[in-house]
């Protein structure tokens, strides 16, 4: 009972988080590619309720930032005029879910611009870029995990069910992939694929590479499940009644693997999100101007950014709840599967 409630709790957290990313157009005030060249590296604006004269405002407001006298990158708040936050405003047009044209935004300001997470070198809003970047990174993680599990399921089923030389061959191959440090493997695979590609191509390339890197562990786990399931009495009985291999696998054996696959999915998704981030961070992933969580952080590779504009690191902190959600879910799922083990299995590809 406790486990069940914990699982639904984590699921709710994940659904809420993913909804903000899926409906990024609504939650973000601007288009992620919209530039404001006059305001590069603006620090995050603070949301105020009390103004400089100590008066309380029911409606939250921000102060717009202006350059400090005699400096070129130090900003200070322009406290003469509060800029009130407006909710559910009409702003830049976007496509909801990539289909429905819309202009409604959760919040915005009139005449001025608002940067809750600051702006980057082109004056693009970091919050908008974070939300839109999440679409790329999370989708890459989810699709990558999907491909991986599909391949793992097929390989594991064939190896476990048919056995013999197929089993030997596939499992030796799986050992090869497990033996390599996964980041090196990711690098090596990426090394032999074209470097300069369009963002969409790069996206699918990354998913393919992730699938190629990760399939070995789920395949081994599925094989184990299939091996024990195919000796079960009801499976033997079904075979005695003349059930075909395909039917047995589909109807009786593979459903047994579903809990393993579910647990693996919860473990793999955050790892693949991280892998996509790593690739994009190093410039091997989805190219600009399409934002991804990795490319958001990649500006920190410059020392000047690191030293002067610490808020460029904020996206890394805001993405932590996503990882927390998946980790919590994975832990609970694992506990449901093996209630007596205290987190023994070093899950996932690492």
């Amino acid at each position: 009972m406790r486990v069940k409630r914990a699982i639904s709790g984590w699921l709710v957290l994940l659904v809420v988080l993913h909804a903000t990313v899926i409906f990024a157009g609504f939650f973000s005030p601007y288009d992620p590619a919209e530039q404001d060249r006059k305001n590069p590296y603006l620090p995050p604006m603070r949301v105020h309720f009390v103004d400089a004269r100590g008066r309380f405002h029911a409606r939250p407001f921000v102060y717009s930032l202006r350059l400090h006298e005699g400096s070129f990158d130090q900003y200070e708040e322009d406290t003469s005029r509060p800029v009130p936050l407006k909710f559910l405003v009409r702003g830049a047009s976007y496509h909801l879910l990539g289909l429905l044209p819309a202009r409604l935004h959760l919040f915005g300001v009139q005449d001025e611009r608002i940067y809750l997470l600051g702006s980057d070198s082109y004056g693009r809003d970091q919050l908008s870029r974070f939300l839109y970047g999440g679409q790329v990174s999370l989708l890459a993680g989810l699709l990558g995990a999907g491909v991986t599990l599909l391949v793992g399921l097929c390989v594991g089923a064939v190896a476990g069910y048919f056995g013999g030389w197929r089993d030997d061959l596939l499992m030796r191959l799986a050992e090869l992939f497990l033996a390599l440090p996964w980041l090196y493997l990711l690098f090596a695979l990426r090394a032999f694929l074209p470097l300069a590609v369009s963002p969409l191509q790069a996206f699918f390339l990354i998913i393919a590479v992730l699938g190629a890197v990760g399939w070995a562990r789920p395949a081994r786990l599925v094989r184990g499940v299939v091996l024990s399931a195919k000796e079960r009495d009801f499976v033997r009985a079904a075979r005695g009644f003349g059930a075909t291999d395909a039917y047995l696998l589909r109807r009786h054996i593979l459903p047994e693997a579903s809990s393993v696959l579910l647990t693996q999915a919860a473990i793999l998704v955050p790892q693949f999100v991280l892998a996509e981030m790593t690739l994009s961070f190093l410039g091997l992933g989805v190219p600009e101007p399409v934002p991804s969580w990795g490319s958001l952080l990649s500006s920190l590779q410059q020392y000047s950014v690191l030293a002067s504009y610490w808020w460029m690191y904020l996206p890394a902190l805001i993405m932590l709840p996503f990882f927390l959600g998946y980790l919590g879910l994975g832990g609970e799922l694992q506990q449901r599967r093996e209630p007596y083990k205290i987190g023994k299995e070093p899950g996932g590809l690492r």
């Binding site: 030796r172 191959l173 050992e175 090869l176 033996a179 390599l180 440090p181 996964w182 980041l183 090196y184 493997l185 690098f187 090596a188 695979l189 990426r190 090394a191 032999f192 694929l193 074209p194 470097l195 955050p270 991280l274 981030m277 790593t278 961070f281 190093l282 410039g283 091997l284 990795g294 952080l297 920190l300 590779q301 020392y303 690191l306 030293a307 610490w310 690191y313 890394a316 902190l317 993405m319 932590l320 990882f323 927390l324 980790l327 083990k341 205290i342 987190g343 023994k344 070093p346 690492r350």
Partner: protein, 323 residues
């Protein structure tokens, strides 16, 4: 002995497999180093054709692989296109730095994880154990990349630590203790990132393994015989819990090698990581293959060490081997 021979055979099989895999990928690759050269109008097409023939890029794959293997066996890992020099010395300098980082981080991480995990398992379910579990869970949530970058941000803000490279500019002029101190100061940041990234995994497993053994009936019996708590823990419980931990030791090497690849790039440590990245961007074929192979070699070496340890620690394996 047969057990060790079998493990050794396994290691060789893995190495051959990995090299074969890496080589097969090269045929799938569209474009190579010389394609970029072709864009340069100052280089004659004949020169490129000659270079292609010299590097045997026109020959079929099996022949190239056979040639490469025979040269590797002679201690020659091929030729770097970009550096125009043999790969092995280039790789070796970087690999040394990577190993320095990885081995230190490994020792440190295990040095922290073992006592802490034992202590945690001893106080299972009580407040310190709960706090520790919470801490490891929090550390696990932070992705490696965010962890390394965060440390870097903190270091830059505090201004106390150097944020890149392996030694200071005036390294050569320092006396020996100064040199050592300088090296340590540069190592501090990447080591911290690496240790923190593997520590939660190790800690959880040490705690789980020991907690399982502490629950076992034979320990209850031993306790009933009046054996002291210390002896119980270190003489009886620890050896019994060692088996999965040794396997984890081999496993943690892979994690650390991958982790150090990223940390090196983020913290500009002159190891295999930045070098490999550069080689990938330049399509420097043999450097990439060599780098991947070398890292696999480290990993396999570490795993073989773990197998040796297991042989020494677990009498069951020894008796199985002698039969």
């Amino acid at each position: 002995m047969r057990y060790l021979l079998r493990r050794f055979g396994h290691a060789v099989f893995l190495l051959v497999g990995v090299s074969l895999l890496a080589f097969t990928f090269t045929t799938l690759a569209p474009g190579n180093y010389f394609d970029e050269m072709r864009l340069n109008p100052q280089i004659a097409p004949e020169t490129i054709a000659a270079l292609r023939t010299q590097y045997e890029l026109d020959r079929p794959l099996p022949i190239r692989y056979a040639h490469w293997v025979s040269s590797v066996l002679h201690g020659d890992m091929g030729f770097s296109f970009a550096y125009n020099s043999p790969v092995l010395p280039l790789l070796w300098v970087r690999a040394r730095n990577t190993l320095l980082l990885t081995i230190t981080a490994m020792l440190l991480a295990w040095g922290i994880a073992l006592p802490l995990g034992i202590w945690s398992a001893e106080h299972l379910g009580r407040l310190p154990d709960r706090l520790l579990s919470l801490g490891t869970a929090a550390l696990m949530v932070i992705p490696d990349l965010a962890l390394a970058l965060g440390l870097l941000v903190i270091a830059v803000k505090s201004g106390r630590f150097p944020t890149g490279g392996m030694v200071s500019l005036n390294f050569e002029s320092l006396a020996f203790p100064g040199k050592l101190g300088d090296l340590f100061l540069h190592m501090a940041l990447p080591i911290t990132a690496l240790v923190l990234s593997v520590l939660p995994l190790l800690l959880r497993h040490v705690r789980a393994a020991l907690a399982e053994v502490l629950d076992a009936p034979f320990l209850l019996a031993a306790e009933g015989h009046g054996i002291s708590r210390r002896t119980l823990l270190y003489r009886y419980a620890l050896p019994a819990a060692a088996n999965p931990l040794i396997s984890l030791f081999g496993f943690s090497i892979g994690t650390l090698l991958s982790g150090s690849l990223l940390v090196e790039v983020v913290m500009s440590w002159p190891g295999l990581g930045p070098f490999l990245l550069e080689a990938i961007l330049a399509r420097d074929l043999y450097v990439v293959i060599g780098g991947v192979l070398l890292s696999t070699l480290f990993l396999i070496g570490g795993n073989f060490l773990a197998d040796l340890l297991l042989y020494w620690a677990d009498p069951r394996i020894r008796t199985e081997a002698s039969v």
